[in-house]
Symmetry: C2
């Protein structure tokens, strides 16, 4: 058993061991109970000694009981959910107040067309300008969705600047302004909110580390994946689809063990988010966010499933058009000299211009009346999802409707008696370019919710069209059932947003969001078909588009569009660079030999910040012996210098190999390993260094920093050019 | 680019490449359109040539269009869903008829107590005996749940005897008999059905292979994971939770790319399963399986969430008791000489005895009347999930109820005016040992449904107890809301079955099963807490219990109960065996050297059935050069013998190194690699051989067969004993 105990040190943090974390933390929790009460002479002068001692004892006992259920990190995961939900609720509350103010002012100015236009256009313009100016003055990284960056961080690469406190603050304020601009700008919350919750997760992770003292390597990632799940859960109160969405978008290989923690966070987030409105007396009880009331007895006739399938295909095709247009716009903005100049120097001016243009188009007394532009985004969704057909209700309207009735929303869709189908087509056509334009704004913005709404509009159009073709409903057996266009809107929303993001979880999201499970099966069918079309011929998703355009080092999105990159091997990356290599690829300065003295170790330690260093037999032979941990090297240095002064180097003359314990290397890569394989192995085995050997000789070391550089070079197309 | 193209051959099947399958299959699909019409002279005598040609052309075109959407394997995944759903529907249909026959006979004998008793007890006894005898005479592997075995197969190890056609047939018939024994035996369908659908999946996979010609290594696993998902989807019509359940139970590392195919299969399965009753005129339209009608406006008051949390904890604790008892019973059966003798020789007798005992206890005129034993399992679940409290309804019953009304089911729970709480407690207490006893039966049986029902009973007990304590309901704001015990039954069912199987997906399953999304959040909370209790202190799940007792080589369940095994390294396994090793561990007879001649190659090929072989510089130096594919070796042999006769060996005198292309090895393991790491690397990178090197010298090869043996030895505790 000696061999085992010798190497156990390295295994504990390199193995993806399932129960490690739990064991450690359980140990940490129960420790205080062994010490019991620090009831010594020192405390004698304090009052109520016995009472305090008893309280302390019971607190320790509670601590112990809680510790048996789960480690401290489990409670951190729970706290993550609650904090994120609180943040989401506060944002929603502020945004609702700001939107209400805009609506109130606009209604007060009824009759003064010019003043109304100024109110309509200047309010969102000012908010967008403010959002842009604020985020860029505090932290430029906080602009944009943030989701592609978070995805890259979760894939293992580090971007500390994206998880800073100033970023959190800037994003929070910027996002509130963006959302307060409402349906004029037509942007959402999900992407930036995932970024926000990731920052909260990173902070909680640091808390965990300071509690545990030491830290499992790359444990942060677990917290970050959970953060992404929590963000969706607290935006929509949908825990399960939150976890699924984060798995689908964020990770390539998913360890099932992490899944449980994700669920804990997501459930606590969703529960808090649902309970907060009840506690703040806004709502009577816990309900779905967009409660619908479809008939559960006869939700749809079996032949309608075919229409759902066609809707899925339509959404898939429309996704391809949309994404093509989106790619083109990103490219245009980058290449057009005027716009790129404005965006480089005067971001706020660009935002103001775009926001004003969008407000001009949506002005309710102008074109906006054919797009139901007075409805807020929530009202738009509610009107799309309503189960009754719009048309027959509108014909019966003769008495003025009470404000807030669903019929008053439907009236917006039929201004001056125009056909509902016409306004829906105008809405879809106009929103296409407006949405793509809005997505180029340099401020915190989410893509998901506008896409979701757009999909719901597509579905509604199909549903209303079908209801127009079969005004008496469809026969099913002996019963004639009227068409429910709301069901199509539901399926359309899921299919379009699923196809745009290459995910299937929206099928579940609509179920959790509306509390409507009758349409689960046809919705899933539509989502699957839309995804099949959208993913065919290596088309990138919306997030991939952004990743590729920003040249982020995100390997999965690179491979999706250029599958041939999965064959690029390590030697190709190493020897294609312009810098001269000394025969060894990657981080050659980190390598130590067995006979290294204190001077050499000191130089190596100062040149690299990694936690592990490879040790070879000698630089000439290059035979890899294993790796040494940084702490071992520091101990070695300390023993050599006989004190913290750092003087008297090499006096004792001992070499590294005699003092430090060299840990054997468990997995070797070779120069023929592909970059993708190296990434998979390093992330699955959770290792810090990848040792590349050639016939047992070390020919290079891959660190995560090195890997990041490699993928960045792949993204820039440098490797391909050199070899193609 | 030469280097790339040289090594591309090995990469295509060794890399976990995302688009590989699609590309290949797309290529296969479009091929026929290039050939166009085989309209040659041979066919001239056939009639309607032009019509047939046109039909053929349009078929080819359709083929091409379908091919652009997805490869042939995607259609196989769809077919898997449809076939499994059809099988599930047919089983259900037959079982319903058999149950109906039993009920009819029992009711016809009203008044004749002895005859009624004989009918009650002999019917299930005969069915169980038949099931046991049939399965054991055709294929003994088809007994039991099958889920632990399927899980082991999916982890990468091969058990061809579990996926044979005779097994499929035996399991199908045996399962139908078991289910027809009904609520007397109280066993379910899920586990065996997962096994059944895996067999269907394996067949479809072979179809795929014969279509493609070649086959990606271990592509079968994708089909098998999808099969597990499809099984749940077609048992309950719940596609999303089916996929989640299969991910949670079946896999450790999950590739997100596989997930999409799982969803396709599960969705087609669930849709078919839901549509079949409509087409067979049993149902008007597509509905949830156990439709409930909870109030959606005020589903529960916020304080009730605390009760849900307590229910979760209770279910967790009860799970620990249940599993302890289950482990004890399995151990008792194994160690008790009398029972083990009967089980070894006369399995049918044992089944008959147990079935008769269970029937005796559940006889409705005896003890059974306190357990509502006349209700079928579906009726039991429906009665548990009903939203109204049982008690008040029972007091109002004075007129005879129409048969089939829900109230007639509730009457069963209060025989001769006894309290509902009392019967529920009796039900829970008696079913505990009866269920554990039934689980020892040597016939195809499922654990999930009985556990689910048991959990629903626990929840109902809590709900009825709460309703008894607050007969007027709970105040929430100004509104007084009556307690809904059905909601607690829902949460209890999810929490108990989740805790028993260590999964969270039952939280979603109850949602899909009942179409009731109001209680999603508290149910998820209960499931999380129950899981936290059930997983603490390395407790195994129900399936782990079976795996461990059967000594199946399933690594995750081994590591769950004995986390110290994750530190066992390869050398420990190799050098602890009783067989003498020649310095090289594992499959040493597979190694070839560069100078190997035809004789040697022929010997190696005949001694091993692997597809890849390692090549070393020479046996003395042991430096690993790479690997050679079997087909290359066969080509080499063919070239050496100048014909298929196999004569004239070594005449040309060429060696392997000059003729075959040696593929470089991308990942090396070392003797210090743990078994767990080796398993992770091999399954994530999807490689057939793991090369274990020591300073560049080959010290062993790990095949999947070898890995299976290793894990089997770990399971038997051989390694631990030798080193501890």
């Amino acid at each position: 058993m000696e061999g085992v105990s010798l190497t156990r040190g390295v295994n504990i943090h390199s193995v993806t061991n399932k129960s490690d974390g739990e064991e450690d933390s359980a140990h940490q929790w129960t420790a205080p109970t062994n010490e019991r009460l620090p009831f010594t002479g020192k405390n004698l002068w304090k009052p109520w000694q016995h009472a305090r001692a008893r309280i302390k004892a019971s607190l320790y006992r509670l601590w112990g009981v809680l510790g048996t259920l789960g480690g401290f990190d489990w409670y951190c995961f729970g706290a993550l959910g609650i904090l994120t939900a609180l943040m989401s609720f506060l944002i929603d509350l502020n945004v609702a107040k700001l939107l209400e103010a805009h609506r109130w002012l606009y209604e007060q100015l009824q009759g003064h067309l010019l003043l109304q236009f100024l109110c309509w256009s200047l309010y969102p313009t000012v908010l967008c300008t403010l959002s842009t100016a604020f985020t860029h003055s505090i932290s430029p990284n906080s602009a944009g969705s943030g989701l592609p960056e978070v995805r890259t961080i979760i894939s293992g690469l580090e971007f500390p600047e994206f998880l800073s406190l100033s970023n959190l603050f800037a994003k929070l304020v910027g996002l509130t302004c963006t959302l307060a601009a409402g349906s004029v700008i037509f942007l959402g919350k999900v992407g930036p909110f995932i970024h926000l919750s990731t920052m909260v997760g990173a902070f909680l992770d640091r808390l965990c580390v300071s509690f545990h003292g030491k830290r499992e390597f790359r444990a942060q990632n677990k917290m970050l994946i959970a953060s992404a799940a929590v963000a969706i859960a607290s935006c929509f109160g949908a825990p399960v689809s939150g976890v699924l969405f984060s798995v689908e978008v964020m990770s390539v290989h998913f360890t099932v063990h992490d899944y449980c923690r994700c669920f804990l966070s997501a459930a606590s987030g969703a529960l808090t988010f649902r309970l907060l409105p009840v506690w703040s007396r806004e709502q009577e009880t816990v309900q779905a966010l967009f409660k619908t009331s479809f008939s559960t007895d006869l939700p749809y006739c079996p032949p309608e499933i075919l229409v759902f399938a066609l809707l899925g295909l339509l959404c898939g095709v429309w996704t391809c058009v949309f994404l093509h247009f989106h790619r083109w716009s990103l490219l245009f903005i980058r290449t057009n000299q005027v716009i790129s100049k404005i965006l480089a120097t005067e971001k706020a001016v660009y935002s103001a211009m775009v926001a004003f243009l969008l407000a001009l188009v949506t002005f309710p007394h102008g074109l906006g009346r054919f797009m139901a532009s007075t409805l807020s985004m929530k009202q738009l969704l509610a009107s799309f999802l309503h189960s009754q057909q719009w048309k027959p209700v509108l014909q019966n309207v003769s008495v003025p409707l009470p404000p807030g009735a669903p019929e008053s929303m439907w009236l917006e869709w039929s201004p001056a008696g125009t056909s509902v189908l016409f306004t829906l087509v105008v809405f879809l056509g106009m929103k296409l370019w407006m949405l793509v334009l809005a997505m180029t704004l340099p401020l915190p913005l989410g893509f998901f919710m506008p896409i979701f709404l757009y999909g719901a509009a597509i579905g509604r159009l199909v549903g209303e069209g079908l209801a127009w073709m079969f005004p008496n409903g469809i026969e099913s057996g002996e019963i004639v059932r009227p068409i429910n266009p709301g069901g199509y809107a539901l399926a359309g929303a899921a299919a379009f947003s699923g196809a745009m993001t290459h995910t299937l979880s929206p099928a579940l999201l609509v179920l959790e969001l509306t509390g409507q499970s009758t349409h689960a099966a046809p919705t899933l069918l539509a989502v699957l078909l839309a995804n099949a079309v959208a993913r065919s011929s290596h088309r990138p998703s919306l997030y991939d588009n952004v990743s590729l355009m920003k040249k982020l080092p995100h390997l999965p999105s690179l491979l999706r569009t250029q599958p041939e990159l999965s064959f690029v091997q390590l030697w190709q990356v190493w020897y294609s660079g312009e810098e001269a290599h000394d025969g060894r690829g990657g981080a050659a300065e980190m390598v130590l030999e067995r006979d290294s003295g204190a001077t050499e170790v000191r130089r190596t330690l100062s040149s690299s910040s990694e936690a592990e260093f490879p040790v070879v037999e000698s630089y000439e032979s290059g035979v890899l012996l294993g790796s040494v941990h940084r702490s071992e090297l520091e101990k070695f240095l300390y023993s050599q210098t006989d004190g913290p002064s750092g003087l008297e180097l090499d006096i004792l003359g001992q070499c590294l190999g005699n003092v430090c314990s060299i840990q054997p290397v468990t997995v070797h890569l070779s120069t023929q390993t592909t970059v993708q394989q190296a990434h998979s192995v390093m992330s699955v085995l959770n290792i810090q260094l990848g040792f590349v050997t050639d016939n047992g000789k070390l020919s290079g070391v891959i660190t995560w920093t090195e890997l990041k550089k490699m993928i960045e070079r792949l993204a820039k197309g440098e490797i391909k050019q050199n070899n193609g």
